[in-house]
Amino acid sequence: MLLNIDIALIIEKLALIVIVVMSSLVIAMYATFMERKVAASLQDRRGPNRAGPFGLLQPLADGLKLFFKEEIIPNFSSKFLFILGPCLAMLTAMMTGAVIPWGDKVHFFDRDISLQIADVNIGILYVFGVVSMGVYGIMIGSWASNNKYSLMGGLRAASQIISYELAMGIALIALLMVTGTLSLKTMVGYQVDGWWNICKQPLGFLIFLICVFAECNRTPFDLAEAENELIGGYHTEYSSMKLGFYLFAEYINMFISSSVMISLFFGGYDIPFVNDAHLLEKLGTNWMALVHAGVFLIKAVMFLFFFMWVRWTIPRFRYDQLMNLGWKILIPLALINMLITGGLILLQQNHWHF
């Protein structure tokens, strides 16, 4: 039998899916809170502090507000697509989490349960596929609004994401040449035993990072929602929870892309400066999985903070600057990076004979 599927496997995967979806929703919720708090503290303000202790209930209040606001669907819009847009944005944001290894494995009921929903051997390609689907949510939403400003915002988002996907892919090819695998789990495994990929591919990481910022529509690349030129960008016509979905999808995207970056370049769930094999003997599988997941979460929160830190530091790019950076700088740089990496690997395989 090629696929070893039984009821227990289905149950464990379902449980894992529910956990991952729920936790990424909660993390995205509190990322909105964190964003406001970080923004406040970077600007010498206090940020939300009314709802609950330290304002911790603020995301709930925001959610309630969004749910109870009036839903407006413009008369001339295509209603089906108008509703489909935010759904797609949310869906694609959630789907990427499927291939990220959140930890090694846990041991329950005589079964080793891998803390990864699907260990597909083309993991990173799957991520790319789903991420590039994300632009459909924005495009469809902006087109269905039947508003020129929304459409312009959508167009910007689409062209931006497509341009930056190229550089991102090429930067990743260099990494794939180093690791020799597409599976995220295997990639993390290599990093647990050896060096983190950031040490091997610093330039590649930089390019990847910039492209991730552009893919997530985060500042300085948030031209799709440049409110001073485009009113509100692609979500001008959206209100209540449909707008909430778009904004929420952005935060889930941020979290997921941080997770992808961690898995690719920062050793995934690896604990830095600690020999994981020794620790595993001391703690046992299940506790080790918990520690791993915690370390992963800490890294993710650090990345989220980085996203916000950049957002409140750098002003937004102009559109032509954005395109210049993407096509004329990042893609050639990524190509050069790929060439150099290829050359070095070739030399290494020939035992450094010149």
Binding site: S41, D44, R45, R46, N49, W309, T313, I314
Partner: protein, 181 residues
């Protein structure tokens, strides 16, 4: 060209160096600056819990004063209404009856005293015009209201609490600076 002042700064027009064009060092510098702001003291004042002390010349809501025995100072002379540039003050005078000496200081008093807070510009001329030190501008804000008629403050809104029977409220209303003779 000769500069008019010594504050002139020459604009640097030489092309950017390679490091400047790389843009990333500049971003890094900026990020250090913003990170430093995380640890700075916030100038925010947590408003409902803490209030900022007003300047001694602040002119807030009006109060009608009483003397130390709790008698109303106002004699309804109308000078404040005359002095008011926005014509916000209206009043009706009445004569003190025997047995009301503990209520009103002089023989005449204001039976009705109204200030329309929508018209009032808080210039303080009423305070200056008053010969009896009866009207003062306190250090409180004009609060919000749901209806226009809520902004027409009558005597019950303006009169300061009784200094003997409601000592605490009186002290609070008096605040830091209203002097009572």
């Amino acid at each position: 060209m000769q500069a008019l002042t010594n504050r002139v700064k020459q604009v640097d027009r030489k092309p950017m160096s390679w490091m400047e064009r790389a843009y990333l060092p500049a971003i890094f510098k900026g990020m250090i600056i913003t990170f430093g702001h995380m640890f700075k003291k916030r100038p925010t004042i947590n408003y409902p819990e803490k209030t900022r002390p007003f300047s001694p010349v602040f002119r807030g809501l009006h109060i009608l004063n009483r003397d130390e025995e709790g008698r109303e100072n106002c004699t309804a002379c109308g000078l404040c209404a005359v002095a008011c540039p926005a014509e916000a003050i209206t009043m009706e005078a009445a004569e003190r009856k025997p047995g009301e000496e503990n209520l009103y200081r002089e023989e005449k008093y204001a039976a009705k005293y109204e200030i329309n807070m929508l018209r009032c510009i808080f210039c303080g001329l009423c305070e200056e015009a008053c010969p009896k030190d009866a009207i003062y501008l306190s250090e409180t804000f004009a609060p919000a209201n749901y209806q226009r008629k809520g902004f027409i403050y009558g005597k019950e809104d303006l009169l300061i609490p009784h200094p003997i029977t409601e000592k605490e409220a009186y002290e609070k209303a008096k605040g830091g600076r209203v002097s009572v003779r």
